[in-house]
Assembly symmetry: C2
Homo-oligomer: 259 residues x 2
């Protein structure tokens, strides 16, 4: 069923029934033909995990039946979903854009490393596809996405029109509704920050210890060109992300090692 | 129990009972005091996943009892292990070096993104600790690590002596024994390559489809300064890796967008 409309592949990490992916699908339907391949269960914090030692399920989903959208739910991770979409579901068609999200919670700064939302986008970039991950800085399952959608639509439309630089996926974060009116959009670098973990040690009913990880985000970066600065000043942040992890600046130092 | 020996934290992604971590522990014991915090089950392909919606177990392990080494096994991912080590097990001590591996299988080029071995090293770098991930280009559970150990020891000793550039983790890959005598060590950039997946679709006993992911590695990069070139020419490769995913070269292009 060929159409002249752009083909947009949608995935996420909160799972195919989340409100965030529904908001994203409805917005992308205004820009093109939508195909959904998303996890059948929440996959938050899965980073760039893939399913290597186990089997995968991929089934037609009825979640978007009313919208008449081809939707598939997968037992695997967000990166698995993109691989299955590219090499199986859409093996004879090439998406014009891959979008992931809208994530329930921020993926700014170093959170990009742990983010299933962004791993879907980065996996798509690895496949040579233009890709964007969208996240709302509100972890609530009932978060209000409405103020974010005009920005999501504008950025996706611009990507369809101008393309995205090769080998780059965009990490888009949007301030929560509660922060008031958004001032605009900033192209940023990833802020230098970290999560300082606190492990809450408890006892199970059998007397054995278990732990909950509970982190505090610490931003060391005072720059006004970072995603953290943009978000805390109520701008939408866009960070172009690469999958080349080479620390090019460090190559020279290491060449001085006597190996 | 304070000592003057360097404190070396060891983790991996194949699990605490794998032969690779044993080879690494035995080698690190020649350089310092070793503490092990590693997964209690295989975590290959976990990327930078963390355990956010579930509890974690962390128990003393008897795997290295004979070596009189403090060892802990964790129910979580390699990144969880490093977080638990830094903020719980070693909260009053600072490791002089964090090493991860030796992985049963290559983590060169883009495989670094999917690698639990390297996510442990990158998580340590995020924590400000000097860190190295070691991988042997041999997936076999019975792989011969003996030819790799002099290189592992030399690189770790150099890192203890010179330090590692800030915010960088080293991705070290070592050719398989079967490739013949290793020619030396090369400092490299990450080769531009990808995995082209083939999904092997099968039917379960109930007639429902399931899939096995089976990838082919495709190297597009003809450069002689890459990890792939080094490994295919029988050199050990060292790639310095950053956790700043910003595609700095793409910032200018995006500033031309009309947003």
């Amino acid at each position: 069923m060929a159409t002249n409309k752009p083909l947009i592949l949608v995935s996420n990490d909160d799972g195919i029934t989340s409100r965030g992916i529904r908001a994203l699908v409805e917005t992308m339907m205004q820009l093109g033909e939508v195909v959904v391949v998303a996890p059948n269960s929440p996959q938050s914090g899965m980073g760039h995990a893939i399913t290597v030692g186990n089997t995968l399920r991929l089934d037609r989903s009825t979640v978007f039946a009313e919208e008449k959208i081809a939707a598939y739910e997968c037992s695997g991770t967000p990166a698995d979903c993109i691989k299955l979409a590219k090499h199986h579901v859409l093996k004879d068609r090439r998406p014009d854009l891959v979008v992931s999200g809208i994530n329930h919670g921020s993926n700014s700064s170093v959170s990009v490393l742990y983010s299933g939302t962004m791993s879907a986008a980065i996996e798509a970039a690895l496949e040579g596809l233009p890709a964007i991950g969208f996240s709302l800085c509100d972890y609530s399952a009932t978060a209000d996405f409405s103020h974010a959608l005009p920005f999501v639509k504008r950025i996706a439309a611009q990507a369809l029109e101008s393309g995205i630089p090769a080998d780059v996926a965009l990490n888009v974060n949007i301030p929560a509704r509660t922060e008031g009116e958004i001032k605009g959009i900033r192209v940023c670098r990833q802020a230098k920050a970290k999560w300082t973990e606190v492990f809450d040690q408890r006892k199970d009913p059998h007397g054995r210890s278990y732990y909950w990880m509970a982190g505090n985000f610490v931003n060391f970066d005072k720059g006004e060109d970072t995603d953290e600065w943009a978000l805390s000043n109520n701008f939408v942040s866009i960070v172009p992300c690469t999958f080349d992890l080479t620390a090019h600046h460090a190559l020279r130092d290491l060449h001085t090692w006597s190996l």
